[in-house]
């Protein structure tokens, strides 16, 4: 099994995942994925055209709740874990559009 590099623009993927990677991390991951994909490519051996996808193994359906109001958190509890807040709001650095 050869560790063929895979078709992945790792910088683009990292951007989608909002994850800053160092060059070393990116290079290391690329090599590791090349190894892993020697396994993942085995899936191409299978003819799955007519096979349905399994998103969930349990045969459940129509699990719903009634439209009933339950208590919300106290605001102090809601904001209690926030790294930054201002008055009743969560606070983040500005959004650049």
């Amino acid at each position: 099994m050869s560790n063929k590099p895979i078709d992945m623009d790792i910088a683009h993927v990292a951007k989608l995942a909002r994850l800053a990677l160092t060059d070393d991390e990116a290079a290391q991951f690329a090599a590791q994925f090349a190894h892993l994909f020697t396994y993942i490519r085995q899936l191409q051996e299978l003819d799955v055209d007519t096979i349905p996808a399994t998103a969930q193994v349990i045969p459940l359906r129509n699990v719903m709740r009634d439209d009933i109001v339950t208590p919300s958190l106290e605001r102090d509890a809601a904001l209690g874990n926030a790294p930054d807040w201002e008055g009743p709001y969560f606070r983040t650095p500005r959004i650049l559009e």
Partner: protein, 490 residues
């Protein structure tokens, strides 16, 4: 320490108080922590308070439940209201959830004393407990070795005898592999059997909570306590919860046990000593009256590939919420919010988590979804069908739980794929959603290993029944003592 059900009997009969039991457990943990580092935090005061309340209730004639006074450790992936819950990650180092996991609430409702939060691979991603942001846990049988993972802290503390019962979670083997390495019983229930509410998500379609215990009976009792429908989890199944202890038996007459050639081939190639041990185990099952039948699982060889697309894909989405806005770590920046997101996540996640986020994001991204994620979901269907077919021919499947005993710390950290391969025998059951258990099966090179028993969906009682008969007949777990326990007694 004795088994949980024995402790309960003693507490109920007031031969010992819950407080004394709790203090003894805390003392044992504190003595071993420098060696094992099984815990991320101890809930000593909370536990003692609960124990005293329980003692009062017992004194007043109450029966506080099937786990009355039993000290139980929970993996730090379960939220406990008001207590720091980290999932082994720096990104949640200071997170205090305002609510408790359903499984934790149910344990406490059954009278269990929650004694502490155990160490784990970050967000349950790993098979050695070395991916914890807070240092690795060690194996009580040999502290130079890993306890397995991701529920390594839970396995280590139960294996060391500090507590009789711990709660773990299993996504691809995270209960069964460490149970095998630490010579304890570990049960991954049927997907949907135990509520996932309040259990920090790794891969939602695979994650399942389960007991890790010193004996099979305790696993049955603990599963009975935590199982059952929860309206807060749409994937929890509204199946009746049987008395799992009622199925415990001492012979296996009339039971058909499936042996899987595909697994036997793999173990023979991996480690002939292991293969020999498992052959003995199957013969022990036959000696108990079981009929051994060959069943094929032709697609399990694709399990690893399937799992390493589905689990990272779900994880990439589940872990998107850790962005430094509402809770958890934030890396401050004078730039914009996206820079804050990127730097917070870079600083807060360890390498394995980052690797899986990138992999999963890729598997779902435009142009690759069909080739990777969708294809993996289809192969998942094939694997599930394999099990459906197999269970028309047998009641329980017996197989290796692992391909080797506990390995040395650091042995596999540089090679993620080697680490992923540790879950070769456990991943297929997770993908199929069926219940599977690891029970001590003896020793290879003086290290314990587990036998995996798998049943059809919701047939935990059958799996526990076979495990109990095997445990009672072989007594592997009782035949030796872990190194740390022997050291403590010297």
């Amino acid at each position: 320490m004795r088994c949980g059900h024995e402790i309960r009997e003693a507490v109920i009969r007031r031969q010992v108080s819950a407080e004394e039991v709790t203090r003894a457990a805390l003392a044992s943990i504190e003595a071993l922590e420098p060696t094992l580092h099984a815990y991320l935090c101890l809930l000593a005061e909370r536990a003692l308070k609960h124990a005293r309340v329980l003692d009062q209730r017992i004194a007043a004639g109450d029966d506080p439940g099937p786990l009355a006074g039993v000290p139980v450790a929970v993996k730090d992936i379960f939220c406990v209201a008001g207590e720091v819950t980290t999932a082994g990650s720096k990104i949640l180092a200071n997170f205090r959830p305002p609510y408790s996991a359903t499984a934790v609430e149910r344990l406490e409702a059954a009278g269990a004393i929650i004694i502490g939060k155990t160490n784990m691979d970050e967000f349950a991603m790993g098979s050695s407990c070395e991916n914890s942001a807070f240092g690795e846990t060690r194996n009580p049988w040999d502290p130079s070795r890993v306890p397995g993972g991701s529920s390594g802290g839970s396995a280590s503390t139960v294996g060391a005898g500090s507590v009789p019962i711990a709660l773990g979670t299993d996504t691809g083997g995270s209960i069964r592999e460490p149970a095998s390495f630490c010579n304890i019983v570990g049960l991954k229930p049927t997907y949907g059997r135990v509520s996932r509410y309040g259990m920090i998500a790794f891969a939602s379609s695979l994650d399942q909570a389960g007991p890790m215990t010193g004996c099979v009976r305790d696993a049955a009792i603990t599963l009975g306590a935590i199982a059952g429908h929860d309206p807060r989890d749409a994937t929890s199944v509204d199946e009746p919860v049987p008395d799992f202890c009622a199925g415990l038996r001492t012979d296996l007459n009339g039971i058909r046990i499936g042996i899987v050639p595909e697994f036997e081939e793999h173990i023979a190639q991996s480690d002939p000593d292991m293969a020999a041990l498992y052959r003995r185990a199957y013969e022990d099952l036959r000696a108990l009256g079981a009929q051994l039948v060959e069943v094929h699982l032709p697609h399990v060889r694709y399990g690893l590939a399937t799992y390493y697309l589905i689990a990272p894909a779900e994880c990439s989405s589940n872990l998107a919420r850790y962005d430094g806005v509402r809770y958890g770590l934030r890396v401050e920046t004078d730039k914009d919010v996206y820079t804050m997101f990127e730097q917070t996540r870079a600083a807060g996640f360890g390498p394995e988590v980052k690797r899986r986020i990138i992999l999963g994001t890729y598997a779902l991204s435009a142009g690759y979804y069909d080739a990777y994620y969708l294809r993996a979901q289809k192969v998942r269907t094939l694997i599930k069908r394999d099990f459906d077919d197999a269970f028309t021919q047998c009641d329980v499947i017996a197989s290796p739980a692992v391909s080797c005993p506990a390995f040395a710390l650091g042995a596999k950290t540089a090679d993620p794929v080697a680490m992923y391969l540790m879950d070769y025998f456990t991943i297929p059951m997770s993908l199929a959603g069926v219940p599977a258990l690891s029970v001590p099966a003896g020793y290879v090179r003086d290290l314990p290993v587990g036998l995996q028993l798998t049943g059809p969906a919701f047939a935990e009682a059958g799996v526990l029944g076979v495990a109990y008969a095997y445990e009672q007949a072989t007594g592997h777990a009782q035949s030796r003592r872990p190194a740390v326990m022997a050291a403590a007694h010297r």
